[in-house]
């Protein structure tokens, strides 16, 4: 009965779909010899029409099935997760320590990349998730960290470990410098200025040829060493010792990949530890209070200037960590690694993971870097799927994968 009633609407909807999809899906560009020809292709349009027709016709049963399925329920709630947190983390870290020795080189490489995004996500989480300051130019700090290390290594011949604190300090300074002019801004206006800051850094890197090498970037950035032991077939300096000679192993090209992964893991754990401490300290609580109500903060004697600057500075310095490591891993950087899309991805990681939730951010970072790699075979549909996943996420879990947990209920006494 209801199906009959829905039939005309379903028909008209599928016609509308045909109209909308015809110019996009119905026409293909075909190269024939030297000419490019337009070729009609009815199949995708027909598929879209059928899909819309069926979805409209069976809307009610579909809705029922959806509510019965309730995908949100499949993910654990914040309370349950909190109890398993410590054993779960230990297990995860243990698995991550052993895994690279058995996995393929490519997989370890992708995992390292995702750990870099974990670092970035955790850093931005301080600024956006905790302090509630929308920063669209976070990639600028990533770039400052990367270029600090690259240029220090190139011009002064310093190694990764000497440069890491220096580049973190430089990024923190950059964060503080950005913080000053934007102290008075809030919400959207803050977002615009930080967006501008990201672009300025990108343009500077591209055009300050004499310092940054412009679009050519910086080459031959040394890889990190293991307590002074290099990962190479032959030592780069006469008299140097390489890792495999010192331990009497055969040289394997994959060793350095595994080492980089483990190093990234250590850095992530370090950042996680520091942030975990920070948010329990009064300053962490002050960040959250600032996010909730800035005016109330001031009226309680909290200095918003100091709180905002500390959030910007600390958030930026973790971006610097990620940047320096990124430069070391790649061995080559140029401005194209620091475009706006990187800021957008890191922000997506924070929002998708659940603002202010550490584990959520880690999950989202891994998902957003590993999924595109896995889906590489789908080529141009990758971004489409990416967008689709985002939309579905916002429908099912608008507060993020694993929203920040806070005890909400009093236990019976």
């Amino acid at each position: 009965m209801t199906l009959k009633r829905r039939l005309p609407e379903a028909l008209s909807m599928s016609l509308l779909t045909a109209l909308l999809t015809l110019p996009v899906l119905g026409v293909h560009l075909q190269v024939e010899g030297l000419k490019v020809a337009l070729q009609g292709d009815a199949r995708p349009v027909c598929i879209a029409m059928t899909a819309v027709f069926l979805a409209r016709l069976f809307q009610e049963p579909l809705k029922q099935a959806y509510s019965w399925l309730n995908l949100g329920r499949l993910l654990p709630g914040p309370q349950r997760l909190a109890t398993y947190r410590t054993p779960l983390l230990t297990l995860l870290v243990g698995a991550a320590l052993i895994w690279p020795f058995f996995a393929s080189r490519g997989a370890v490489d992708v995992a390292t990349l995702s750990l870099i995004y974990v670092m970035l996500g955790l850093g931005l989480n301080i600024v956006v998730g905790y302090a509630g300051l929308l920063d669209l130019g976070y990639v600028a700090f990533y770039a400052v960290g990367a270029y600090s290390y690259a240029l220090l290594a190139q011009n002064f011949g310093l190694g990764f470990w000497e440069c890491l604190p220096v580049s973190v300090a430089m990024t923190a300074t950059a964060g503080c410098l950005l913080g000053f002019p934007v102290l008075r801004l809030r919400g959207d206006y803050l977002a615009i200025v930080t967006l501008g800051f990201g672009e300025i850094v990108y343009l500077l890197l591209n055009n300050l040829d004499s310092l940054t090498g412009g679009p050519d970037g910086v080459k031959n950035i040394p890889k990190p060493t293991f307590f002074g032991l290099e990962f190479a077939r032959e030592p780069s300096t006469p008299g140097g010792v390489t890792f495999h000679r010192f331990f009497g192993l055969d040289y394997r090209g994959g060793d350095v990949v595994i080492f980089l992964f483990l190093l990234a893991l250590v850095l992530v754990l370090f950042i996680l530890f520091v942030i975990d401490r920070l948010i329990r300290m009064p300053i962490g609580r002050a960040w959250e209070a600032l996010r909730e109500d800035e005016l109330a903060c001031v009226s309680l004697g909290l200095n918003p200037t100091v709180i905002k600057l500390s959030a910007f500075t600390l958030g930026a310095s973790f971006g610097g960590f990620a940047g320096a490591f990124f430069a070391a891993r790649q061995g080559f950087i140029n401005p194209e690694s620091f475009t706006f899309i990187e800021s957008a991805i890191v922000l997506a990681i924070v929002v998708l993971g659940g603002m202010g939730s550490q584990i959520g951010v880690i999950l989202a970072a891994v998902a957003l870097t590993v999924l595109p790699e896995v889906a590489r075979q789908f080529q141009e549909y990758r971004m489409l799927a990416f967008g689709l996943v985002m939309i579905l996420m916002m429908i099912w879990r608008p507060q993020g994968l694993l929203p920040a947990s806070r005890p909400r209920l009093e236990l019976p006494q």
């Binding site: 009064p282 609580r285 002050a286 959250e288 209070a289 996010r291 909730e292 109500d293 005016l295 109330a296 903060c297 001031v298 009226s299 309680l300 004697g301 909290l302 200095n303 918003p304 806070r406 005890p407 909400r408 209920l409 009093e410």
Partner: protein, 233 residues
Amino acid sequence: MLKLEAVHTFYGPVEALKGVSLEVNAGEIVTLIGANGAGKSTLLKTVCGLPQATHGTITFAGEDITRKPTHLIMQSGLALAPEGRRIFPGLTVLENLHIGGFFADKSRLEADLERVYTLFPILKERRHQRGGTLSGGEQQMLAIARALMSRPTLLLLDEPSLGLAPLVIAQIFRILEAIRQEGVTIFLVEQNAHRALQLADRGYVLENGWIVLADTGANLLVNAAVRKAYLGG
């Protein structure tokens, strides 16, 4: 203790306070009543330095605070329970109170918590609950408790009765009396003139940015003009 002398405050071109002078002495409960838009909240905000007074001087405990930045004023023994409560809805009750005690001596934190829990037992029960899940009355109590956490000598209250049921208002006013007994001076801005004047030692009436009347609470309660304008005849 708190003294305003010929204070003018502007919002852009609009003069909200047109030379207000008033005084709050130690140990008193002083109330400021007035209609909507008279400038009551502006006066409290000016004391806190948001916005700053354009002319005149504000002294607190013998110190000129007219040009001091807000957060420093609020660290000098003054505390505000702002209009509309403005608690931190996403933080727990306990965290709200911790923020209130941000600059207080940390070794006395537990004692300070006990003190506000004694005044507001319901907050102890709800201490692990998010601020936003409290009822209106509980939120108002939290706002006052949060202000008390910095151990102020002068407590500024902006319309604590706003949007609350009469029974809850009565409860809150009883607690204000208890807070005064502990030696805290209270400056109360209210629309609920009847209750405020009953509680207060002295009162001021603000109209269009001017103080038009100043007297003891009891006298204002029977004042014909006040009765007509604010107490319903």
